[in-house]
Symmetry: C2
Subunit: 439 residues, 2 copies
């Protein structure tokens, strides 16, 4: 007598991200109620389970959906607006003025929905966002069907979103109350950085909220070189050391970028175990500096992967980000054994889930976890012959080879077609916004 299930999905290769280099050949995922209830050899699956739907991915590798652990999705409309510029010039003279002029509920909603399409089309199933007008991004997330971690974000200077701290915190609280029970939106807190949020009380107030509601806390930490000087001057401590001093350096912290680490920083990270998000393409493109990924992993620090916003990357492509992370780690350590393909894939999946504190239900493929996974077609000129599918995912495949994307067992991408979003409409809106911004 067969056990009932919703779906059986057979694949040539299943990469679980549960054990180093593990690739299960000709296995099947059995799905019920949004979760994986079994992973077993394909012939056994068909014998043991009945299913409403059964699919075969005969030339595909299935792996966990990517978790983009740091991004600013509404910036997708600013992609390619300004390139080849220094960080503070880029921020102060291009990005912040563009934001000041264009930001609003409609812009953020449209740009977020547009970014969701790019994420789905490149195999991302969860993302961790830091921006303003959070309810607009949250609304887009629910429509798209992705899992979005969206921050109650404070920056402590006047924006179109909020005129002062009181308004920022009030709006953040309102956002939390509105979305705290959403099946797809999770809430975090975020302070932009130690160099923008200059008031320690402000940070502690944010930390109180994180503690009260058990939320992860995001912050850009040690990104521009000037940040070190600013913090030293203000506090007598480097940014990471000052975070430790304030009691904010702990596994709840998602420290984004984490460049320019000195020996004391490395010791602090090893001791207090915050999560680090590595954004190699943004760091390289803006020449911000280097995150010592290999050293951090060796010290047992959890390092996840993020694309940063599309304005500084210029994409939300986690496949490309894994490749760059592996290249950069090898280059910077002068050791080609640094950051193997498997380690890069783990950063893009399970380590992201750990950073977001959702690894009990996401980030790898195993019984009981959510059915968030993707199929990558290897039957292309660019990925044949296929000796090691993990190598091809990291070093050779393009994002257009992601054919199908499931979140909670529901397909958001079906043989390259978006199921929850209207591609033509998204493109038309992007062009219309682009024309306005260009003028």
């Amino acid at each position: 007598m067969k056990t009932t299930s919703d779906q059986i999905i057979h694949a040539k290769w299943i990469i679980t991200c549960e054990a180093k280099d593990e690739v299960l050949e000709n296995h099947a995922l059995v799905i019920q109620h949004q979760k994986i209830i079994d992973i077993l050899p394909s012939p056994d699956a068909s014998k043991q389970y009945s299913a409403t739907k059964e699919e075969h991915y005969d030339s595909h590798a299935i792996c966990p959906g990517f978790i983009n652990t740091h991004t600013h999705v509404p910036m997708n409309y600013f992609r390619g607006l300004a390139d080849d510029l220094a960080l503070m010039n880029w921020l102060q003279n291009h990005i912040w003025p563009a934001e000041k002029k264009w930001l609003g509920e409609e812009f953020v909603f449209d740009a977020s929905l547009f970014a969701m399409a790019e994420m789905i089309r490149s195999g991302t199933t969860s993302f961790n966002d830091m921006f303003f007008y959070m309810p607009s991004t949250a609304k887009a997330t629910e429509i798209a069907g992705l899992r979005g971690h969206i921050s109650m974000h404070v920056i402590s200077f006047e924006t179109k979103w909020a005129k002062d701290a009181e308004e920022e915190f009030a709006k953040a609280e309102a956002f939390y109350q509105e979305y705290k029970n959403s099946p797809l939106v999770s809430i975090t807190v975020a302070a932009h950085s130690m160099y923008t949020v200059t008031d320690d009380k402000y940070l502690l107030r944010l930390n109180d909220i994180a503690e009260k509601y058990h939320l992860q806390m995001n912050m850009h930490v040690q990104e521009p070189r000037t940040e070190m000087d600013i913090l030293l001057k203000r506090t007598g401590r480097r940014p990471l050391a000052h975070l430790a001093h304030l009691g904010l350096l702990n596994p709840r912290l998602i420290a984004v970028h984490m460049l320019h680490a000195d020996e004391n920083d490395l010791d602090l990270l090893e001791k207090h175990k915050p999560n680090v998000v590595h954004c190699p393409e943004s760091n390289m493109k803006l020449a911000s500096g280097l995150c010592p990924v290999t050293e951090l992993l060796a010290r047992g620090v959890n390092v996840a992967l993020g694309t940063d916003g599309a304005a500084s990357n210029n994409d939300l492509d986690m496949l490309g980000e894994m490749r760059t992370a592996a290249f950069l780690a090898k280059h910077s350590t002068q050791n080609p054994e640094s950051l193997s393909a498997y380690e890069a894939l783990q950063m893009a999946t399970l380590n992201g889930a750990k950073a977001l504190n959702v690894h009990h239900e996401r980030g790898s493929l195993k019984k009981g976890k959510l059915a968030d996974f993707i199929a990558i077609n290897m039957d292309e000129i660019e990925t044949l012959p296929t000796y090691h599918p993990i190598s091809h995912i990291v070093y050779a495949a393009g994002r257009h080879q992601v054919t199908d994307v499931w979140v909670g067992g529901k397909k958001l991408l079906d043989n390259r077609k978006l199921t929850t979003l209207d591609e033509a409409e998204l493109k038309a809106k992007a062009k219309a916004w682009g024309d306005k911004i260009n003028q």
Copy 2:
């Protein structure tokens, strides 16, 4: 009265690579007898020229076809066979044994033809190859319709291809005689490197051939760190200095990789003006070292771009290579203004043509040059809005967005379909070879 032409190709954007950041909007290329005979605004083109064929690329950027200035195309069948290993370990324990076991005319022909498909599908119209069994690669090149620069390659140790120097030179000469008048195949000479070719007379003999036939000369120069020690021990000079001493450092030389440059190396490069080929992805993946691209360009050295072989990259994707080159230059100089998108595109096109000494007829779009160009569709979620098409080509577009590829006005890729090659047959052969190699 209209002037007759073979084709008029209208495009939303034409990027000529003739002047910095030049983008011609709503212009047309007029083609006759394999050449560009005019570039002018679209409405004028239709008024001034009649054409057998007229096409419209309303959402595309047309730019010169990419020139992959260093690769080993038959290695495509070894892609992903061994990764995350040190260069000499990778070569000595994986690549060279695999070559020893599998190399032969049939392997090289099949693998080359397979690589041609990848190059066409990613917008490469010319490539510069260094391998053995050159006639097999040349034959594949003519079938594919690409422009291949294929080297008379000597390595001075016994291979399956040639047992000794006399056989190497005899086979090289025979190859030259067979292909010297080919419309698509151009011939170069190549010595593998200063650390493998240990006999100076051997290099001088090769140089004599290059001088006699007016050919460019390829060599891997200063790639592994051990190369410096080996040359210092043998000659008392570093590799580049020894090349200068032998009289081989001149604009005929294509110095591939060119890592670990010291001040004297930089002076030699500036003084003697050989061409340098930057292969950033291979250098990063193998952790070989850094080519000082920004410094070389500032000193007036011609720097072209190459993917290296697919076994160390792991692709032949010049779009990805441009992006990595720009990222790496910014990162390594700590200056985000280093290597702009336009400079990266120029390295991938005109600078390659200069290195191969074919810039009078290739590498940019202008009257009188060959009609070698590509169309990239910007009407995708990932490249909208399109503020600056050059930025999107380098920082955002994927190779699957290359829709059409022309060599001498002939389409090799027509709306993503290969016209000279059978995709299904190529994939079947790649799988069959992969199965054999895997055993």
